[in-house]
């Protein structure tokens, strides 16, 4: 394998130069290289699904047909949702940043099962390819990313292969989560107790628990859907005596916790950026750490809020409504602790911090509108409108994507040993941040007025809102393309970075070179304190 045990190997060569061939990358079991491979893969999917999103926005420039027909439109928004959810946002932070950073932050040489790690990358790639080919080769898929029965049983499009692709990607997600849990339990550096772990590790831990517990359930659900189409088993098919709402229960039992697979690692990134750029110890370390676990635990009990109008009993609705509001508690604990971390800190507005602030601002809007939707009577009015679309984009994009880009800028010097261009970064950030609000704020408004989601044509009264939104989408698209462009330029040509350009205290900065050597550290790092000690620098 790529990782032979030659004498000097891994002791002075950085991981990027330890083997230059394409094969040395494709066959690597180094967690850092696997992390970079995930990163490139998910960013490609992000680009594709982002372009599809701009296609949707352009179509909505006018109330009737502008650039595509209705069938194409159905497939485009299905593809946008499916790619963004399964191929970008679920694997993005855990598999890309998590793989790279987890062992470094723990003071380990690798994840617990390096070959399983590479295997899970290929499983992911295979599942993603299968799903994309199924969608592109056949007649596309027109069910939306939720594959609701009974339509998904009857749809003539390529549901089976797409669903199998999602199932296979789920296996990859399970294996990654399993690997991380074992790594966190068994490979911490001497002295690193659970309460000395960086908060990104805590967030990844909570995420992994959800991945391991929830993903098998979507696995069996998707297999049942395939069995439904192939063997006509009738579990979900009302024509054969089954219950289509049962599919929704199964689907959301995974897919709601999956929402926290998407957001928790982002929260972990924010918890790292906040203290470093405020030059202050993180406020409420244990509260932030435990609230990650609390969110993971509650996430399993709220799936019914996706089904308030599905005909489930009023009693269930009330319970699910209450439990859903409960998620706001640990989430708010985090937000207030981040704010308190900044309080009286010496805040430095570098690009990572700008993205962290964007996260705070946008995620808070996304989170608060979530509470509106948890209220039963309001949800009945807003269900399946653009209000929902705006809400979850504020959480997913305003939350996770902002955190991801904050994290990319923050750790880019560690990944590639080179700095990104600061001024250009701030300019692109401004485009993304203001464009984002232009894109999704109007959708709250038209959604509240009754604009239904997923519709191809719309009432002309919504035209202005849609057009503002479309202009915003172009700003975001341009800003993100600019960002990805200069990031990859900087990976090769940027100014050389020092080992710890931000003066951070976590092990990947204090003990590992930029970029790290193949074995991460010279010798075994030991730990005798938590990683947020900024006392001497306190104002």
């Amino acid at each position: 394998m790529a990782h032979d045990a030659s004498a000097s190997h891994g002791h002075d060569v950085d991981y990027l130069n330890d083997g230059k061939t394409v094969w040395s990358w494709l066959s690597t079991i180094d967690h850092k290289r696997i992390g970079i491979m995930y990163l490139v893969t998910v960013l490609i999917f992000f680009g594709v699904a982002g372009l599809l999103a701009i296609g949707i926005r352009l179509e909505h420039w006018g109330p009737t047909r502008t650039i595509m027909g209705p069938d194409t439109y159905n497939k485009v928004f299905t593809l946008h949702g499916a790619i963004m959810v399964f191929m970008f946002i679920i694997p993005a932070i855990p598999s890309a940043l998590g793989n790279f950073l987890l062992p470094l932050m723990l003071g380990a040489k690798d994840v617990a099962f390096p070959r399983l790690n590479l295997f899970s990358y290929y499983v992911f790639l295979f599942g993603a390819t299968l799903a994309v080919v199924a969608i592109l080769a056949g007649q596309g898929v027109d069910t939306g990313w939720t594959f609701y029965t009974p339509y998904s049983i009857k749809s003539q499009t390529g549901v089976i292969l797409t669903v199998l692709g999602a199932f296979i990607m789920g296996m990859s997600s399970i294996l990654t989560g399993l690997n991380f849990i074992a790594t966190i339990h068994k490979l911490r550096a001497p002295g690193m107790t659970f309460h000395r772990m960086p908060l990104f590790v805590w967030a990844t831990y909570a995420t992994s628990i959800i991945q391991v517990l929830a993903t098998p359930v979507i696995g069996i659900t998707l297999l049942l859907l395939v069995a439904e189409r192939v063997l006509k088993v009738g579990i979900f098919d009302p024509a054969l005596g089954g219950d289509p709402v049962l599919f929704q229960h199964f689907f959301w039992f995974y897919s709601h916790p999956a929402v926290y697979i998407m957001i928790l690692p982002g929260m972990g990134i924010i918890s790292e950026i906040m203290p470093v750029f405020s030059r202050k110890p993180i406020f409420g370390y244990r509260a932030i750490a435990y609230s990650s676990l609390a969110i993971a635990a509650i996430s399993f009990l709220v799936w019914g809020h996706h089904m308030f109008v599905s005909g489930q009993s009023d009693f269930s609705n009330i319970i699910f409504s209450f439990l859903t509001v409960l998620v706001a508690v640990p989430t708010a604990i985090k937000v207030f602790n981040w704010l308190s971390t900044m309080y009286k800190g010496s805040i430095k507005l570098d690009v990572p911090m700008l993205y962290a602030l964007a996260f705070l601002f946008l995620f808070t809007i996304g989170g608060l509108t979530g509470i509106f939707l948890a209220a039963l009577s309001i949800d009945v009015h807003l269900h399946d409108t653009y209000f929902i679309v705006a809400h979850f984009h504020y959480v997913m994009m305003g939350g996770t994507v902002m955190a991801l880009f904050g994290g990319l800028h923050y750790w880019w010097p560690k990944f590639f040993g080179r700095m990104y261009p600061e001024k250009l970064g701030r300019f692109a950030w401004a485009l993304v941040f203001f464009g984002f609000n232009l894109l999704f704020l109007p959708q709250f408004y038209i959604g509240g007025k009754g604009m239904p989601r997923r519709y191809y044509n719309y009432d002309p009264v919504y035209t202005l809102g849609h057009q503002v939104s479309t202009i915003g989408s172009l700003m975001v698209g341009f800003g993100l393309m600019l960002t990805l462009g200069y990031l990859f330029w900087a990976a090769k040509k940027g100014q050389k970075a020092t080992q710890n350009p931000w003066g951070a205290k976590t092990l990947e900065w204090t003990d590992a070179a930029s970029p790290p050597i193949t074995h991460n550290f010279h010798g075994q790092p030991t730990v005798d304190n938590w990683p947020y000690e900024y006392k001497s620098e306190r104002v």
Partner: protein, 217 residues
């Protein structure tokens, strides 16, 4: 298993572990987490079973009489025996008794085959008399309109379990071959332990399937 290895005693362990024991403990921990995911996978089917049994209790009662209780009971005993031989095989591997360990694994495989043969006779009889899942159901004796759902659940649960039996057998064949090549010793028998854990799970799931499907009333 080992790779980029440091050497202690007879076993090479991977470079990111402190000791062979550390590697063993970590592998075992990982396998336990994996078994949890298997439980969750089957959990979906158990939930579906619970919901439909709650909705149509009289249909479940009527339909389950079509299952062959004797064959199901024999298969339960067969799998429990296979778990015993597998546990003993792990114990022998741990004590450097390679030949005995290999024989016990062969016994486990024998029981596993026996299970599948009995299952084959059960399945073919049901297919023959039209007790099939969902839309393919065409048995004139059980007339309850929802009866096809019982057989959908029966075939899905036992089918997924059967698939796990096959995977478990594959794992045992793999560790058996390595045992016969002399790759394991008391210093290193992690794959035997892991395959054993998996096999016990396969057994355990059947122990729940048997009463839930065959012994309703």
């Amino acid at each position: 298993m080992s790779h980029d290895a440091s050497t202690t005693g007879s076993h090479h362990y991977a470079h990111h572990f402190e000791s062979a024991d550390h590697e063993f403990e970590t592998s075992k921990f990982g396998m336990w987490v994996f078994l949890v995911t298997e439980i969750m996978l089957f959990g979906g089917l158990f939930i579906a079973y619970g919901i439909y049994r709650g909705m149509y209790p009289e249909m479940f009662m009527e339909a389950h009489h079509a299952l062959n209780k004797i064959m199901g009971a024999v298969n339960t005993v067969v799998l429990i025996c296979s778990s015993l031989t597998m546990a003993l095989a792990v114990g022998m591997a741990q004590r450097n008794e390679r030949a005995k360990s290999a024989k016990l694994m062969m016994a486990t495989l024998f029981f596993a085959c026996m299970f599948l043969v009995i299952k084959y006779f059960e399945y073919s009889h049901k297919i023959h008399i039209g007790l099939l899942p969902g839309a393919f159901y065409n048995n004139p004796d059980i007339t309850h309109p929802k009866a096809p759902i019982f057989f959908s659940i029966y075939f899905l649960m036992t089918g997924l379990h059967g698939l796990h039996v096959l995977i478990g057998m594959g794992l045992i064949i793999w560790v058996l071959r390595r045992t016969m090549k002399g790759e394991f010793s008391s210093a290193y028998y992690t794959p035997v332990e892991i395959a054993g854990l998996y096999w016990h799970l396969v057994d355990l799931i059947w122990i729940y399937l048997f009463p839930l499907l065959y012994l309703i009333g």
